[in-house]
């Protein structure tokens, strides 16, 4: 058995961190008011009563908006609504914030968008989900727009043409899955497919925001989404755009900022928030996913598994991510045509990615034996044009092979 690096460890057990012991309540009192009986345990250690929990949760949301000041009074904000607890909580946070009569009232105008992307479900289930969303958003009295992901991809991302404000105009077809798959190479793996669809959705949000006159988009990503996206980004070669993809605000577009107001929440908080406020969420029939099918699900499972035993995992990853910023010199670089992030700087020397493509290029040419090896090397290097005119960034270059149309 390999024992490199184990020299200093006497006992096998000390190799691993001990999981945090399961929760034990010392006195049956809320951690904050020290008076009421608690009803929820957060972070595996803090117990709160219902009143303290609900006011704390609302405060956390408003504190985020207050601290960062992305939105100014009377601005329009596009809110990305989807199934699950987080976006339902988001709508409720917004409605209750707007309806306040205190000076802390929210003063902007939310517009909700629903991207119909449930291609794995039957047409009937998809119509039901859309109808549920319609009723739900109507209750909150927000304007709602719909867009079909498939429609949009087919029409080459002409978002303005595909955006509809009436549910009857939302196209839900039986062949959407096949149509969507036609755009992607049939050999594309799940990781790449998910990455591409994520980029498409982001493009839709930005374009729809522009069309509807919004300067800010709110998306419902939670702490765990941010943490797993961070690790996914690193493993897919998107480290350069990390600060944009997982930061507080994605400002790769000049006019529209994508803000993630739920990034410090955990799912339990929002599920309980919805339960105590009697909010219904759009339920999705869940399928058992093979966690090894894509990098994204593997990362999510990894982070989630750690979080179960070490409740500080997600916050540690998220806060570490917050300290990463994009290099200033990149800001004026040409943009990648797919993800719209700035491209890497060109160096005099070959980067490791370029070295790899050089190595691929040189080994696919037939060697000329009339020259000495040194001459051969120099000639090859000379005629190797660094992929400098690629319209893609490093990670999207790899994805671009899976796109049938781009």
């Amino acid at each position: 058995m390999c024992s490199v690096g184990d020299d200093n460890l006497e006992e096998k057990t000390s190799k691993y961190m001990e999981p945090v012991p399961k929760f034990k309540l010392d006195d049956n009192k809320c951690n904050k008011c020290r008076a009421s009986t608690p009803c929820i345990v957060l972070r595996g250690k803090d117990a709160y009563c219902q009143a303290c929990f609900l006011s704390g949760t609302t405060h956390k949301f408003k504190a985020f908006l207050g601290k960062h000041r992305f939105v100014y009074p009377n601005d329009k904000v596009l809110v990305y609504h989807t199934e699950g607890h987080p976006s339902t909580s988001l709508l409720h946070f917004l409605r209750s914030g707007l309806d306040l009569s205190t000076p802390k009232k929210l003063r902007f105008e939310p517009i909700v968008i629903y991207i119909e992307d449930k291609i794995d479900l039957s047409s009937e289930e998809r119509s039901d989900a859309a109808e549920f969303i319609r009723k739900q958003v109507e209750e909150y009295k927000f304007p709602l727009h719909y867009i079909s992901l498939c429609d949009c991809v087919k029409k080459n991302n002409k978002v303005a043409e595909c955006l509809v404000d009436d549910i009857s105009k939302l196209s839900i077809g039986d062949n959407d899955k096949e149509n969507l798959n036609q755009v992607l190479n049939s050999k594309a793996n799940t990781t790449n497919k998910r990455d591409i669809l994520k980029i498409y959705k982001k493009t839709i949000l930005i374009e729809a925001a522009k069309h509807l006159g919004c300067k800010v988009v709110f998306t419902p990503e939670l702490g765990i989404d941010i943490a797993s996206q961070l690790l996914t980004n690193v493993s897919l070669g998107r480290g350069i755009h990390l600060a944009l993809d997982v930061g507080i605000c994605d400002n790769r577009d000049e006019d529209v900022k994508i803000v993630r107001p739920l990034r410090h929440f955990e799912i339990k908080e929002l599920a309980m928030y919805n339960h105590f406020n009697r909010l219904e969420v759009v339920a999705k029939k869940e399928k058992l996913e093979n966690i090894y099918s894509s990098v994204q699900s593997l990362m999510k499972n990894f982070v989630g598994g750690l979080q179960n035993n070490f409740p500080a995992t997600i916050t540690t990853i998220v806060r570490t991510g917050d300290k990463l910023a994009m290099e200033k010199s990149l800001e004026d670089n040409p943009r990648c045509v797919l993800c719209r992030g700035p491209q890497e700087n060109r160096n005099e020397e070959l980067t490791s990615a370029e070295s790899t493509s050089f190595s691929h290029w040189v080994s696919t040419r037939s060697p000329q034996y009339s020259m000495t090896p040194v001459e051969r090397y120099e000639k090859s290097l000379e005629s190797f044009s660094v992929a400098g005119d690629s319209p893609y960034c490093f990670a999207c270059e790899r994805l671009s092979h899976d796109l049938v149309v781009s």
Partner: protein, 100 residues
Amino acid sequence: MSGLNITIEFGGGAELLFGNKKKQEVILPAKEGEWTLKDLIFWMKDNLLQERPELFIQDDSVRPGILVLVNDADWELMDTVKYVLEAKDKIVFISTLHGG
């Protein structure tokens, strides 16, 4: 000894595992000893569950991602699976799986 009368509620999509019924009143049959939450979970698996058990159960408990509330309080306050059920208890199962 007569059966134990309790209410089971589902939310967040957990109802889809149980024939899309959000609320069920059930009478647990009398048995030797006390009914714990773990017994209830396995009884539900045998009597109410309509989908594959692995969507609901993992090891000796519910799968991570399903929250359990006993009378509107987090079951972590009640020693989770070891909680002893009482008549008229309301047990809520909330699925927290979300798209992403």
